[in-house]
């Protein structure tokens, strides 16, 4: 049994697709240009293409959300409930693909992973503790496994949470520049992005555990 959760998209923008219903060429949108039947949207080239933008790390969340709502209005199974079984199945699959695309693009970490795997030959996730935060992480690690936390410990956890979150946010912001260089063809920058992403992912795990502990204690 092997894991395979890489996004399925391989850019195929110039590939031609035939409609499952009328067997004519479908054209570029999610609907066949000849018979207007819904087509599988995972053949449109990828998540960015689906959202009608060029691949970039600097996305505008509000714009993405508007586009997600607009696409949902065209693709959601609710609007295919009275259609044929193949169309219903397509609507289900399309909607699931759209949801995965939105979930990926809207999240700064998943978006980075997606860009690395589709534009830079892949990405192997390997969360690593940031070197300069090693001491703090050790100390917090002990508190996280402590069975009952004193108010003082809770304060410490919350404080460390703030430090880690600030760091995470700063690093995430720095990815915008790094990715614009990568997407402009500077493949050498890839290693740096990957290392930073692995640090960010480590911090995110720690942060979610801190949040849970603080929440439980509240």
């Amino acid at each position: 049994m092997s894991r395979n959760d890489r996004p399925p998209a391989t850019p195929t923008t110039d590939a031609r697709h035939l409609c499952w219903a009328c067997h004519e060429e479908t054209g570029e949108g999610p609907f066949c240009r000849s018979c207007v039947k819904i087509q599988p949207i995972d053949q449109l080239g990828g998540y960015f293409e689906l959202f009608g933008t060029v691949p970039t790390y600097a996305v505008d969340i509000a714009v993405l959300r508007d586009k997600f709502y607009e696409l949902s209005r065209r693709l959601h199974p609710d609007f295919y409930a009275g259609n044929s079984e193949p169309e219903k199945e397509l609507a289900r699959n399309n909607s699931a693909y759209l949801n995965a695309a939105f979930r990926t693009l809207v999240d700064p970490i998943r978006r980075a992973e997606y860009l690395l795997s589709t534009r830079a030959g892949g990405y192997a996730s390997n969360p690593t503790p940031p070197q300069d935060l090693f001491e703090e992480i050790l100390e917090i690690g002990e508190l996280l496994v402590e069975s009952d936390l004193s108010a003082d410990d809770c304060g410490k956890l919350a404080q460390a949470g703030t430090v880690f979150r600030d760091r995470q946010d700063a690093w995430l912001a720095s990815l915008t520049d790094l990715f614009s260089r990568l997407l402009a063809g500077d493949m050498a920058i890839r290693t740096e992005i990957e290392a930073r992403l692995n640090n960010i992912k480590y911090l995110r795990t720690i942060l979610s555990r801190i949040d849970r502990r603080v929440n439980d204690a509240a």
Binding site: M1, S2, R3, N4, D5, P8, Y69, S72, R73, H76, P77, D78, F79, A81, G82, R92, N93, S95, A96, Y97, N99, A100, F102, R103, D211, N215, D216, A218
Partner: protein
């Protein structure tokens, strides 16, 4: 008459732990469908001899016939008998395990599944809706707690099928409520739906914008509700009773049922009064006082627990309390002043229940039914799965494939292979839950890939697609990567019925008593009868010449048919309808000839008659 099936509206049904009801959209607005006892059908079924009662009549039987009267069936849905060990004590009827260990109810010698029992409730709700609308109902949207797992959703779906309904969609109760509410009160902003019902608790946080209802996060507990508040009261009263000499060793089902009713009444009284008295139904007729203060102390830990779910949902939604624009209260238990007070204090703003906490869920389900049948396309609900879904990997570790609060439909693909040379089948065990080890999560079932061509270990590559559909129900399909062919897959649900079992119940369940078939027939015939009566009356306006006695015969036949319409005997209705058709047969022919004759002015009546003949 055959085409009215397509035109009959789809209804929304709130299948509750304590109460159920149906609603439908009329002229663009959802309305609850009332029966002879009002809109609410208590979710209670009582058995006597070879018959059963549902709803208000069954409620009367709770005390007289406690061990033959079943309630809170929803708590049994998709559960094993072992899951319900904690409930056994307090329920007056017997919980048993069926042949596969699934929770069932034992009435005399019969083992009844919660799916069938729910079907009986749905059937009654459906009957009531049909009477209210005067047409047969075939399609419905049914609501479930947002925190229901796959097995519980499947069980609800199956119950609908057994009740003779095509279940267009299973939707979550808090989201349904938001749909009704959003339609009426607010169409943008971040909205919290706090839904505390008879048996379950849900919190959902939604973002409303331009007709889109996007669920950001949901959390809850399918075993926390008004029932548990009653239990706290009963525990307190029993303890007080024991101190006053009540023998505890023998609490009969009757006493248990009486105590349950007393507890419910006390709980409701304490919403308006600061103190009430509970009569303990024993020889001594003990009375125990319960103050609101004491009651609040008893349920406080449970109410606090709901707030910790609210906290978790906020974190998952990536929102803070300051981001929340509105708090909506749903479910009967939100009438309790303490609940309301704590929720308002937690969110720092007044909470609303303008649409009535009992009806709002069914109203929302009706709106969704309207959307799914093409009634409107300006509203869209984007919901999430409450639980992560994953498979077992080495060492019993949970490998999540779809994460909780992910939007549905959601999909994940995974490639499987064989471990042994010549292996032809692979079993995939699927779980739902947030814990790291599969043993701590809920087993959903085993999906067996079969018919794999025998090859060396590791050579076959089978891609399995796990898709959670818009109902939150898992669909699994598999494909041989090399050949591209569909791979056979057998589903063995852990806590549910197989397809064959459901089909068997559709055919054989006790739910399908003869009177149901009669009722359906009656409704269909009554439609036809009304149409014929209407057409005949219209003919009276057009036709001026009648044969001797013809008009009188027709008028008599109409009167008799109208009398039959007020009864419930389809046989008699058929006879009277045939009589009217006979009485008007000649008139109909004359009218048809006349119509054709006037259309063919140039031709002679004889020729026209030939054309008709």
């Amino acid at each position: 008459m055959s085409d009215h099936k397509q035109h009959s509206p789809a209804i929304g049904i709130d299948l509750g732990t304590t109460n159920s009801l149906a609603a439908v959209v009329r002229n663009g607005r959802p309305v609850a469908l009332a029966g002879e006892h009002g809109a609410i059908v208590p979710s209670i079924i009582s058995f006597m001899n070879n018959n059963f009662l549902v709803g208000i009549p069954a409620r009367q039987a709770m005390i007289d016939n406690p061990d033959h009267t079943v309630y809170s069936v929803k708590r049994l849905m998709g559960k094993s008998a072992r899951d319900l060990d904690g409930d056994r004590e307090r329920l007056p009827f017997t919980i048993a395990a069926d042949s596969r260990g699934l929770a069932s109810v034992k009435i005399d010698d019969r083992i009844l599944s919660p799916v069938e029992l729910s079907a009986a409730i749905l059937r009654e709700v459906k009957r009531q809706a049909e009477n209210a609308l005067g047409i047969t109902i075939n399609r419905a949207v049914i609501t479930v707690p947002a925190y229901f797992d796959d097995a519980q959703r499947q069980a609800t779906r199956d119950a609908g099928k057994i009740a003779g309904l095509e279940v267009l969609r299973i939707i979550n109760e808090p989201t349904a409520a938001s749909l009704a509410y959003g339609l009426d009160k607010r169409d943008r902003g971040n909205v919290v739906v706090y839904d505390l019902g008879g048996g379950t608790f849900d919190i959902s946080i939604l973002r409303l914008e331009k007709g889109i209802f996007e669920v950001l996060a949901t959390a809850g507990d399918t075993h926390l509700g008004g029932d548990d508040f009653d239990t706290e009261i009963i525990k307190y009263v029993t303890q007080k009773g024991t101190e006053n000499g009540l023998p505890t060793d023998q609490v009969s089902p009757r006493i248990r049922a009486l105590l349950k009713r007393e507890a419910e009444n006390a709980k409701m009284a304490l919403s308006d009064w600061s103190e009430t008295t509970i009569r303990v139904p024993t020889a001594g007729n003990l009375s125990i006082a319960l103050t609101r203060e004491k009651f609040e102390a008893l349920i406080m830990p449970l109410v606090e627990q709901t707030l910790s779910y609210c906290r978790r949902a906020l974190v998952d939604a990536k929102l803070t309390i300051a981001d929340i624009d509105e708090v909506i209260l749903v479910g009967g238990s939100t009438r309790i002043p303490l609940v309301r007070r704590r929720v308002e204090a937690f969110f720092g703003q007044p909470a609303h229940c303008d649409l009535g906490p009992d009806e709002v869920v069914a109203l929302g389900a009706a709106v969704q039914a309207d959307i799914l049948t093409g009634g409107r396309d300006d509203l869209l609900l984007l919901d999430v799965t409450p639980l992560s879904l994953g498979i077992e990997t080495l060492g019993g570790v949970m490998n999540p494939l779809i994460y909780r609060n992910g939007k549905i439909p959601a999909v994940a693909k995974e490639v499987f292979t064989t471990y042994v040379d010549g292996q032809t089948a692979v079993a995939i065990r699927v779980y739902q839950g947030e814990r790291e080890m599969v043993a701590d999560n809920r087993s959903l079932g085993s999906f067996d890939l079969t018919g794999i061509a025998p090859q060396s270990a590791g050579v076959p590559r089978i891609e399995v697609t796990f898709l959670l559909d818009a109902d939150g129900i898992l669909r699994v399909s598999a494909r041989d990567i090399r050949s591209g062919l569909e791979q056979d897959i057998t589903v063995r649900p852990s806590y549910g019925l197989t397809k064959d079992e459901v089909n068997q119940m559709v055919r054989e369940s006790f739910v399908h008593a003869k009177d149901d078939i009669d009722r359906r027939l009656f409704i269909e015939l009554s439609n036809e009868a009304r149409t014929v009566i209407g057409a005949t009356r219209k003919a009276f306006d057009i036709v001026s010449h009648f044969k001797t006695g013809e008009k009188e015969d027709i008028i008599d036949a109409i009167a008799e048919l109208e009398t039959a319409l007020k009864g419930n005997d389809p046989q008699r209705l058929r006879e009277k309808l045939d009589d009217l058709n006979d009485a008007t047969a000649d008139l109909a022919v004359r009218m048809a000839n006349g119509a054709i004759a006037s259309a063919l002015k140039e031709k002679s009546v004889d020729e026209a008659n030939k054309l008709v003949g």
